[in-house]
Subunit: 289 residues, 2 copies
């Protein structure tokens, strides 16, 4: 049990429910195209009833990053709450099958909320509209944090999406303390500009006080610093965090380490599907050389 782990992630444990639709379906059902919208259980039931036959695949942003890191031969762990129901067991199976150490937590099968799912509607142009019912996954609290696992981690990888409730913020604080005790460092992904809008002050404080490595895309960087200027955002971030990796989609990425700025050009590829590109960028970035 003293073996070190490269990365332990904490995030929402979600099963994706994916179906193709045309844009008329999005309009008729009031779905915002191309973004992630949080929905409650009633809306999830209504939208699911309207959508076509689907396929289920384990997902979640942080979980995807950790699974990606495991595929790159990192030793990994993941903490994300499911219910002990069929979808929760599917999530647990899938992430473990990739070699990730996963121990839940599992809420009992009679818990009120079910395992989280994201209804993902794929348009003919390939854009994905995500409608996420977080269910039991937001009930992660400090007592759920496996401190012994985190003490073994070189990196803790935190998902911004989950940083949305007082309980989750406490859980993150407990996790950070554990990883620090073990000599590890802290990475955070911003996840979503709307999430940052809701909790900007807490995000800024977390980044300034605790984060060694920050992942953001252009919109998230601008939202975090509340500016329209990418230059201003990059300048601020370089002062607030040891390393910031800012992805600029087709324009590649900028890596900031104090006063050093490295620009990484994008490779020219035919993009089939950009879903999860940010999640896997983080996996590749953190994987030991």
């Amino acid at each position: 049990m003293t073996e070190r782990l490269d990365i332990v992630g904490i995030g929402n444990a979600i099963v994706d429910v994916i179906a193709p639709v045309n844009d008329g379906f999005l309009a008729e059902n009031g779905v915002a195209k191309g973004v992630m919208t949080l929905i409650d259980r009633a809306r999830a039931t209504e939208l699911y009833a309207a959508m076509p036959a689907a396929r289920e695949i384990s997902g979640g942003s942080g979980a995807n990053t950790i699974a990606g890191a495991a595929a790159l031969n990192c030793r990994t762990g993941f903490i994300g709450k499911v219910r002990d129901d069929q979808l929760g067991r599917i999530f647990a199976h899938d992430i473990r099958a990739g070699g990730v150490t996963y121990a839940g937590p599992f809420a009992p099968e009679d818990a009120d909320e079910e395992t989280a799912r994201s209804l993902i509607l794929v348009s003919p142009d390939g854009e994905r509209s995500m409608n996420t019912y977080l269910g039991i996954s937001t009930a992660l609290h400090a007592g759920d944090i496996d401190e012994a696992l985190l003490e073994r981690a070189d990196w803790l990888y935190l998902e911004g999406y989950l940083f949305d409730t007082p309980e989750a913020k406490e859980a993150y604080a407990r996790a950070i303390a554990a990883v620090r005790r073990g000599g590890g460092k802290v990475a955070l992904t911003c996840s979503d500009p709307f999430c940052i809008d809701r909790h900007r002050a807490d995000f800024r404080r977390l980044i300034a006080d605790e984060v060694d490595l920050l992942f953001a895309n252009r919109d998230e960087a601008l939202s975090l610093i509340e500016t329209d200027s990418l230059e201003i955002a990059l300048g601020m971030l370089s002062r607030e965090v040891a390393i910031a990796a800012v992805t600029l989609s087709g324009d590649g990425a900028v890596i900031l380490r104090g006063k050093t700025r490295t620009e990484v050009p994008a490779q020219a590829v035919d993009v089939v599907d950009s879903t999860g590109a940010g999640d896997l960028f983080a996996a590749g970035f953190m994987a030991p050389g």
Copy 2:
């Protein structure tokens, strides 16, 4: 409620759990390649734990045929037993989303057996090895048959796979009586040579007494008649059933109507995946012109 339906199917209600493996995995885990093997719950748990991350898609042979017929604009219904659990609700959603009238039956959530699933291992050469835990789906009994639905059907489509227990045989008898009362006819698909081996006398009796339209592939036709000669098998079938459609994979199909034999050549196509080809052949055959 007096509207007629083109086809109502009865079969196993199954969620497919699909993952890629190499042939070494099949050998190590004792999986017979390229065929369907029935497995019990303990084996399902063991094999699932060993297999990679998977995707879940609603399946089942008869259900696929009915969904295919619905996609061809047939008015359709389906009867197949699930448990009222998350996988059962996924099955119900998916088949209804295709426009099929589906009313379960649903066993209560605390029933001992879960909704059926088939662990499908896809080899690099595209072959699929199916390991099916039938769970609650085999508990379909005569009392589960929605006779009012069947009285509206022009065709009843019976799946051979399900014809495996005394209860299911009784359920089929009740379904046949209902569809006859409404003036409908009876189609049967043989499904699987092993299934025929187990119940050959009952299959022969059902075909001779009740079936208007029989679907079989070459192996099933040979098994049914207990011969190595396709000619002998076709001759016998043409005397036992009003219409027999025998598929011969790359060699097309033979349609027998009494003394009339029609040979349908196969279209030359690049076969990517032959899974469900038989299921969809039946759908296309039964769809009204």
